[in-house]
């Protein structure tokens, strides 16, 4: 039986196509990419904001700047080149993001809980998240669902989704495609033509009611709700024994 993390990693891997250039973070996105590379997408090119292109780390990197990402990578470039030429230059197909809060438009908050000037919780901030959200052609959001995380309105929009303060990406002239999928531990949300999240898949045994109960806004549900495929035994073995043998992220 797959854990929630395993399901999320598996489901995210399905979104990746062979040959995609992917901007990767640490944790589940990294695992999803490695799973895709080990299965249907051997030509996936993983780029880290630290500057490593085409990394094939011999160990699971603990940080985004692990030395194992450098050794045997295809190229190591400055961060200016990563952000300016690769990301802003429109060379990144897929970006991954998560955060402390997400709203129905796929806006993400990784900055503060509470008011900015006097926060209840000070979070790490944007890092490269804002520019990933602006520029990646397809954005995959990965977050565990709870009413605390899936909120009516983000306390702070660190990384823009489809609609911010009443304005759409198109109105704002934003280059990237915005959130394509919001992959959660209960199911998967897509975004409709207005930019709003719609529940399109649930994991086996999960009901739409359970998903709604973990969501802070009245959730749109697709007319035809699919059940997400589950990772098979071989995939689980791959994840557990080869890709994350120490269970750092699963």
């Amino acid at each position: 039986m797959a854990s929630a993390s395993e399901r999320m990693a598996f489901r995210a891997a399905q979104e990746l196509r062979d040959g995609d250039v992917v901007f990767v973070g640490i944790g589940l996105p990294n695992l999803a990419c490695n799973l895709a590379r080990a299965t249907h997408a051997p030509g996936l090119c993983m780029i880290y904001e630290s500057g490593a292109i085409g990394a094939i780390p011999e160990r699971l990197p603990v940080s985004i700047g692990d030395p194992s990402l450098v050794t045997d990578s295809l190229a190591v470039v400055s961060q200016a080149e990563v952000f300016q030429c690769l990301l802003q230059g429109g060379r990144i197909e897929v970006g991954f993001l998560g955060g402390a809060q997400v709203d129905r438009w796929g806006n993400i908050n990784t900055t503060v809980v509470g008011p900015y000037e006097n926060p209840k919780v000070r979070l790490p901030g944007s890092g490269g998240a804002c520019e990933i959200a602006v520029h990646a052609r397809r954005l995959l959001l990965m977050m565990r669902m709870s009413r605390r995380a899936f909120v009516e309105r983000c306390d702070f929009i660190t990384s823009p989704g489809h609609r911010m303060h009443g304005k759409s990406r198109a109105e704002l002239g934003m280059p990237g495609g915005g959130p394509a999928r919001l992959i959660t531990d209960l199911g998967v949300l897509a975004f409709d033509e207005t930019g709003e999240a719609v529940l399109t898949e649930v994991y086996p045994g999960v009901t739409p009611e359970e998903v709604q109960a973990a969501c802070g806004w009245p959730l749109k549900v697709a007319a035809r709700l699919e059940t997400s495929a589950s990772p098979d035994a071989e995939t689980l073995r791959l994840l557990r024994e080869r890709l994350d043998p120490q269970g750092l992220h699963l």
Binding site: G65, T111, G127, G128, L172
Partner: protein
């Protein structure tokens, strides 16, 4: 010109109370030795600038050296929070630290502008979100060709940049491989550059492979030889990142008492980096020492 000196001398000559400072390096090549020496010298009211204020910036904050933090991602990567920073930035904090916040690309662009001698840098960013709303330094400009509105950030010239590298000569020609961070941009942006090197090599070694030079000596003021000066960060080809320390730090830094005890033992309680390493112990250093993976050279003949 021989620019070599001790870390003590370089910091005393360059890092003054009230100045602005970058210790650069992205995960890689973060010079903890410089941060510790700044703490020991009791420098105050620093504007501390860094994309990712790592543990060393948190220590500067805990030690009371920092007035203002300019940053884009503040955390203990893959582990947790920077607790000194959180204690001084969350509701109810008595001695609140001033924060000036960007995304990575935004702060990097401030260095890019300064390194290029321009007063601002344009970037296609920040539309719609709240980062620009929270930071009045982020403005906009209109493209004279397309009419599009782009974000801008102003040039940032730090008073001092401290850059660790694998090797440098006595004039500060510094060679780096592995992750480059924003070291080059910071070096050209700064008013004064301190190069700290894992190895000091004869200039002939630099000249044998000139494409490896990241920072030319002509913009460097001081050269410090400080092997293992980056621990617990790492130096590709020399030693690994001490991930165990980064994990253990979460618990140490949560408690003001344990934090103080750490600083007493490893910063105030030692004279210099040699003292730190003696306290760290040969066991840790042996565990982290790199296993060699030497690449082939290339041919510069003609």
């Amino acid at each position: 010109m021989d620019k070599r000196c001790s870390m003590k001398e370089a910091i005393a000559a360059s890092v003054k109370t009230g100045c602005s400072l970058v210790i650069d390096g992205f995960t890689h090549l973060i010079c903890f030795a410089a941060g510790h020496e700044i703490i020991r010298q009791g420098v105050r009211d620093l504007t501390a600038i860094r994309l990712t204020p790592d543990l060393v910036y948190d220590q500067l904050i805990e030690a009371g050296c920092v007035k203002r933090l300019v940053f884009s991602w503040a955390g203990n990567p893959g582990v947790g929070s920077l607790h000194a920073l959180r204690r001084r930035s969350e509701a109810g904090a008595s001695s609140r630290i001033a924060l000036e916040e960007y995304s990575h690309f935004g702060l990097l662009s401030r260095f890019l502008a300064a390194s290029a001698g321009l007063p601002f840098w344009p970037l296609d960013n920040y539309a719609g979100g709240d980062i620009a709303r929270a930071n009045p330094e982020i403005k906009t400009v209109q493209c004279p060709y397309t009419g599009r509105t782009l974000a801008t950030v102003p040039a940032l010239h730090p008073d001092v940049a401290i850059l660790h590298c694998q090797r440098a000569d006595q004039e500060g020609n510094a060679q780096v491989w592995g992750l480059l961070g924003s070291q080059k941009e910071v070096a050209f942006a700064a008013r004064r550059v301190i190069v700290v090197a894992e190895e000091i090599v004869p200039t002939e070694v630099i000249r044998k492979d000139p494409n490896r030079t990241l920072v030319p000596g002509i913009i460097v003021s001081h050269v410090v030889h400080e092997p293992w000066g980056c621990h617990p960060s790492f130096v590709q080809g020399f030693h690994d990142r001490d991930n165990e320390f980064y994990v253990a730090w979460e618990e140490i830094s949560r408690s003001p008492e344990r934090y103080a005890a750490y600083l007493d033992a490893f910063v105030y309680g030692v004279e210099d980096r040699k003292g730190y390493l003696a306290k760290l112990g040969a066991g840790v250093m042996d565990r982290l020492r790199a296993k060699p993976r030497v690449c082939a050279g290339v041919d510069y003949g003609y």
